[in-house]
Amino acid sequence: MQALIDETQQEFRELADDIAASIGITNPSDIDGADPLAGWRTLQSAGVLELRERTDGAPLAGGVEVALLSQALGAALSPAPYLAGGALAVDLISRSGDVNGWLPGLLAGTDHYSLLLTPALDALGGTAGEPGVLWGASRDAGFAVTVLRGDDGVIRVARRPIAGARRLDSISLTNELWEPPVEAEWEPGGTLSQDDLDRFTALALTGLAADTAGALRAALTGVVEYSKQRVAYGVHIGSFQAVQHIAAEAHVAIEAIAAAVNYAAWAVDELDADAALLAARTAKAVAARNGRPTAEAVMQLYGGIGQTWEHIAHFYTRRAIFDTVLFGGEDAQLRAIADARLGGE
């Protein structure tokens, strides 16, 4: 039992932090007219798009690396849709055996993929009649992927072009969401087992929770620094105990997410699918519960300036809310956890 990242993972984390810092946002104005895909070339050439590519059944890198990178991208407020368009799309297609050869274009950075989610954003969507939402799209080009369940019960990955898609007003200024075009034909790909799908969901939940942990950690670090400079009543605001306790609680909240994320990230590939999903739901439940309140605490500690559009604080709050809603918030995870532990209702 070794619940700490090892040396190789530590090195990967440093790389991830560097990559993320180079494609992140530090000022609200950075986002104006910015292309979310501006950093895609960096990700592609760093070789991180293929982390979840499977050769001989095993992915190139485990869930831990995806979580470390997601955490770094969250901390840097990177608008590059890595989790959806990189890690998850590759994971899904690769699990299906990539029978149609979609991956080379994705990994080369030329074809962009997004995930089609249900209108409630709580799972992969794509059943007939519901338009759903695209996560990971950054322009009206490229493909949406989803899974389709046939009448025979067989689960297949499928894609279709998204030309004509329309950008939605995502709550997160660093995570775009798009409305798919009027339905085009799905192009079916390889098949997936329920086990594959559960592990994919576990990776999605864990990646989102990791992104939240990263964003909150960066937000807290920022405001703690601010508290050492900002003066009120002749002293630094960081010396007020009321301020310290809010910061300390935020720290505990973030550490709680991180502990659950680390385990879930490892579990994605290492435990039974059921156990992996339970660990991921646990991490997502903690992230969803702590995400928005912790981001709000950071805004509070900045005082008035933290409430303004020009301040970076609301970017973290928006990102945390975005991460919370995707693939289900706290209650959705808890319901599933209760079913797993107490038996279904």
């Binding site: 039992m1 070794q2 619940a3 700490l4 990242i5 090892d6 993972q9 831990v64 807290l220 703690v224 508290s227 050492k228 002293v235 630094h236 960081g238 010396s239 007020f240 105990q241 301020v243 310290q244 306790h245 910061a247 300390a248 609680e249 720290h251 505990v252 550490e255 709680a256 502990a259 659950a260 680390n262 385990y263 490892w266 579990a267 290492e270 646990t282 439940a285 903690v286 209650d331 995870q333 808890l334 319901r335 956890i337 209760a338 079913d339 532990r341 107490l342 038996g343 209702e345």
Partner: protein
């Protein structure tokens, strides 16, 4: 990173499980006196010792087995899952202090009987005027020839009435700065001049006590470390006291959640969606404590000493225990009011001081803010 048991851990776990299946006493039903509970704990301590499970992660030369600290997590998990009595907590922190700061003679004399449960310890740190601000303690120890004479008034000496020895903090240098003039002593509870008065807690049990030291004489060899080392020793002790596995908290949380889930299933409460959410939330909170403890034990396994990160675990562990007790109150409905669920009520009151002892919830937040986040002092 690998949360799976190593081959040695798996073997250890299997052996432990089999041992627990043989040895866990049948659970009691109905009310028990405090003395009965204490006796049950002691009996379980001795049993565990005979099985080789006490002090297992301690160095071999001091009666331990030199096992990885992660084995303590397994012991916690399995002890809880087997619905066994609580793990002895004092060994995990007062025993540690002895092992880390005692001289060879003290270790040889005290550690074996501490591990075996022959000697039970208590912690004489707090005073009426020194709780959170522990360093303002005024109990003094004056050197007279080969002896120290201890005088003062200690509060909250938990399990003092069941203890044989006490680790006592006393001021040896009234002129030194307040953190520097404190020393630690090993004091027999049957010393002449030592008078113990039980303190009954809100659950009605005399779990703790106040202790008066009226010229209690101990030999100079009762001093732990050097004069002035008391603060360092106390801080190490409380750092271990904050560790969820060191005090057996993971075991207790697992056990209580499993019991509550069974209760909710037996009453049909699990049909209520809100109850399901709350039970799942309790599971999530417990998982976070368990995983945080695993990280901290893994860090110890690399040779790192315990530090401020214990405060994070303490806050989470306190919240998990208190929230679980709230849920238990709720799920036992009217029974908690009519006296039909005395264990649940007692359990609830037992979780209240968790945010007071070992450094209050506010003190833990002070520690996190100043030492982990580096926020400026007032």
């Amino acid at each position: 990173m690998d949360y799976r048991d190593s081959p040695e851990e798996a073997e250890y776990r299997a052996r432990l499980r089999a041992w627990l299946a043989e040895n866990v006493p049948a659970p009691h039903s109905g009310e028990r006196t405090n003395a009965e509970i204490a006796a049950e704990r002691l009996a379980w301590h001795r049993k565990l010792y005979e099985g080789g499970y006490i002090g297992q992660s301690w160095p071999v030369e001091w009666g331990g087995k030199g096992l990885s600290p992660t084995m303590d997590a397994i012991l916690n998990e399995e002890n809880g899952n087997a619905d066994a009595p609580s793990l002895p907590a004092m060994v995990g922190y007062i025993g540690r202090a002895l092992q880390m700061f005692g001289n060879d003679e003290q270790r040889a004399r005290f550690i074996p009987p501490t591990l075996s449960g022959e000697i039970q310890w208590c912690q004489g740190f707090s005073e009426p005027g020194a709780g959170s601000d522990l360093a303002s303690l005024t109990t003094k120890a004056v050197r007279e020839g080969d002896e120290y004479v201890i005088s003062g008034h200690k509060m909250w000496t938990s399990a003092g009435q069941w203890a044989d020895w006490c680790l006592v903090l006393a001021r040896t240098d009234p002129d030194a700065p307040k953190h520097k003039g404190i020393s630690a002593f090993l004091v027999p509870m049957d010393s002449v001049g030592l008078v113990l008065q039980p303190i009954v807690l809100a659950n009605g049990d005399p779990e703790t006590s106040e202790v008066f030291y009226d010229g209690v004489r101990v030999p100079a060899s009762a001093l732990v470390g050097q004069e002035g080392d008391g603060w360092k020793i106390a801080m190490t002790t409380v750092a271990y006291e904050r560790g969820p596995s060191d005090v057996g908290a993971i075991s207790t949380l697992n056990k209580q959640l499993a019991r509550l889930e069974r209760h909710a299933q037996s009453t049909g409460a699990t049909a209520d969606p809100r109850v399901r959410l709350e039970l799942a939330r309790a599971y999530v909170r417990g998982e976070v404590v368990r995983l945080m403890a695993l990280e901290q034990l893994s860090s110890r396994a690399t040779g790192k000493l315990v530090g401020e990160e214990g405060s994070v675990a303490k806050v989470l562990q306190t919240e998990a225990s208190q929230a679980l007790a709230h849920l238990a109150l709720e799920l036992h409905d009217a029974d908690i009011v009519t006296g039909r669920a005395p264990d649940v009520v007692s359990q609830y009151f037992q979780t209240r001081p968790m945010s007071v002892y070992g450094g209050s919830a506010q003190i833990q937040r002070n520690v996190i803010a100043s030492r982990i986040l580096g926020m400026p002092r007032a």
